[in-house]
Symmetry: C3
Subunit: 352 residues, 3 copies
């Protein structure tokens, strides 16, 4: 399957420079694209690769296009946001490559008679749909998925295999939930009572829900707990990577993205348009404002009000060097005390 640059421009806009009748059959990075492929420049690091690229055409910003000295005779698509433009064209190509979901219900699926199932949905083998579940139009469910009773799945949701939605979970339209993800599991709440032997930790029932807004993507093996009394809420447009853990009663603001292996402890609130790096830890009961960036591997233990970039990660060093510094670090207060004493001594010497 191939399309002409004219067809791409007609669908996604942008300005063509060169031949509109050129056909492309896919997308590829600048350094590996072939003559029949379309490429894109979004990262200035790759600017220097353009002259040697074999790409049939390149999506580029106006500013970058103007920087090129001596344009070769390939074709160009000038776009204000080349990366987003690339993403849209890639979506077009992938519609052909992706597995097809015809509306059908596999006979091995176990669906409670009370569930509301439109005729447009696709339900894979061994899926379990409990009582009073409501599926929207064109919901696509692969195999071995479990949807607990009373859950509500909005239109065009895509559920990958072996994911689990506990009872009363709400999933917004167009969400994508990857394999092994768990939504609506019990939060980690126990009241200590060491006066009663055998009941040292009393389980606090988790009767809130997990509410996932529209256009949220949730990665493989990510877990999102239900709320204790109120709900856990992931607002619309959030993108959450693999292996992320989100505790009970957390609220994540719209369009926030969270990279893999990050953990957000219970009852914390994260603002809108935040970018939380990978393997970050956010303590419980704190608030992070809008447009906060937390870089990978950092720890947030106190509330952060405003926008800004926050960090607490040390990069790895050769082990021997690290250990030398770490040993000093263990006694940093002694070093400060020595400095203080020295300052006092020098003061006296000066005063002499």
């Amino acid at each position: 399957m191939s399309v002409t640059l004219d067809e791409i421009i007609a669908r996604f806009g942008g300005k063509l420079i060169g031949e509109g009748t050129i056909e492309v059959d896919g997308l590829a990075p600048i350094d590996s694209a072939t003559m029949s492929q379309l490429s894109f420049l979004s990262n200035p690091l790759y600017f220097a690769q353009i002259p040697n690229s074999r790409a049939g055409a390149i999506i580029i910003s106006h500013a970058d296009f103007d920087k090129i000295v001596g344009h070769d005779n390939r074709s160009w698509i000038i776009a204000s946001n080349p990366y987003a433009y690339f993403a849209r064209v890639a979506q077009m190509f992938s519609e052909i490559l992706q597995p097809i979901f015809l509306p059908k219900i596999h006979p091995s699926a176990v669906i409670d008679a009370s569930a509301v199932i439109p005729t447009t949905v696709s339900i894979g083998p061994n899926t379990v749909i409990e009582a009073n579940v409501r599926l929207g139009q064109r919901v696509r469910i692969l195999g071995n998925v479990f949807i607990g009773q009373g859950s509500n799945i909005d239109d065009d949701v895509l559920l990958y295999p072996n994911c689990t939605l506990y009872h009363s979970t709400v999933i917004g339209a167009r969400c994508i939930i990857h394999a092994g993800a768990v939504i609506g599991s019990d939060g980690f709440g126990f009241a200590p009572d060491f006066t009663v032997t055998g009941k040292e930790w009393i389980k606090i029932p988790q009767v809130g829900r997990a509410l996932i807004g529209d256009d949220v993507e949730i990665g493989a093996s990510t877990s999102i707990d239900r709320g204790t009394m109120a709900d856990t809420v992931i607002e619309k447009g959030c993108k959450i990577d693999n292996q992320v853990q989100i505790g009970h009663n957390v609220r994540i603001g719209a369009y926030t993205v969270i990279a893999g292996c990050t953990g957000i402890a219970g009852s914390s609130t994260i603002g809108r348009y935040c970018m939380i790096g990978g393997a970050v830890g956010v303590a419980g009961h704190i608030t992070i404002g809008d447009r906060v960036i937390v870089t990978g591997k950092s720890s947030v233990s106190k509330s952060i009000s405003g926008p800004g970039i926050f960090t607490s990660m040390f990069p790895a060093m050769p082990n021997a060097d690290w250990n030398k510094n770490a040993a000093i670090m263990r006694n940093l207060h002694k070093m400060r005390d020595r400095l203080r004493r020295l300052e006092a001594t020098v003061k006296k010497l000066q005063d002499k």
Copy 2:
């Protein structure tokens, strides 16, 4: 469904102040409770919210009750441990809200003829129960669960969907295992032998078991490896959050709690009544004594004998400030050397 305060007192104890005939139909935090709800004060932070709370009644300690100036005419339940009291009342209410498990075996479950299955159990769709598995009374299994051969599940265990128990796993009474958890997977053990090409890492068979004591709760997507030769043991009453990884031959002492995303490497022993925070890393082959608290995101690389609180986490700072400090940290030994030289110089000046 609602109950009177008198009924609650009759069941859970405590002392009533006010109207015993008042009916409550649920629990809620102090700031959001309505007149028909019961609230509780366990965190002194919320003490100031009491006068404005609309809660019909509040569970409170004697000491906190005495601190209130000018008691309004709401009702009170005086309890020695208001949080545990709240948890018990919440459990009573949640028994009505929780999905019901009638004893029945879904016809799609695949159960080996040799398995021992009492008539009181509930087994959901697409569950696989292999040979020689033994289920206790009132075990409840949701859909798509896998129980490997020879496993022994004690009374009143609750297994959520898509969890996996490898062969020979032992689960104590009243355990709760959440969705996607994996118990009894192979430990990470390989003998290096780079003399034989193609067999560089020789797998060490993992023939021990994973033994889970009574009243343990295991979170979503948590994995607990089986032992290599001896067993991996989680003692009674432990509570383990989501996304926790516990390596082979680890022993966790009774009533220890472990928050999400923490990893415990192989052959380490953790004592009783410990509290391990989220995203903590515990190295292999070490021992942590009883009643040790490790705060979130810390790393434990050496044994810790006694009780106490242990930490190695830096909180995130504005990125520019952090980088300035981190650059100095990289050369902390140079700073110490400068201090030493300065001390020597000042000494000479003094001696002049």
Copy 3:
């Protein structure tokens, strides 16, 4: 089942000292082995336990054997690599203990008619095998596994329950994939475009594949994303522990081992024979050379060319001590500035 030392020597080599007709029925550590068991010394820490060990025979290196003063009359197997020797003997014993996989296909498995399924495979209950999947000889699949369309599983692969392979995944010969693992999930790729409301993050289709080489083991709940345009590649002989996250377009070189809870961000390349500790974070778009060791809990944010050991982990300290140092750390640049001023002052005093 028991075997004589002569039989073991005949199969695995090594030199016997003592009685070859002694029978052993299993393996155990030096301190717990019984007279009918074979033990091994690979860690010098346990050398001192030898005189008191009840083990019927011990696998030991020539050098360690020579260190023993006054050999007792037990038997010994002298091996150049006692740990690897132990692993091989353990594999022999475990073949008897492991669950047996007879070639058979459970009737509840849902297998597309276009899939290629040799007669030697074993497929457990509720497994889903989509169109155009190709299984090799003697592939063993436990229950509730999902294999997406067009995937290719080579000979002797073992898939544990509830694992998920997305479409077009390639698994090399003799791989072992543990429960709950997810291979080939979408990478975390979104193009920001905040000019179009409701489409703030445009999903970049992930049309590459996940390619897993021969003899790779992948732990429970580990996730490996497919590539965006090119493929994610795990080369032969890698061993990956539980709860590891590997992003799109990552390449891991042959024989590298990665311990639990580690995350590797997208487009990074890790060399051959590396050892990556537990809970390590590797940033995206960097390169780590061959034979690099990264110790547990460290963060790698820049490329590392050569072999060596790299670290950035602080061990936990008593909380009060840590906080004192951490407070100084927050203002380390001020301490450096004080040192500078003091150096200048002392210089002036010297010059007087």
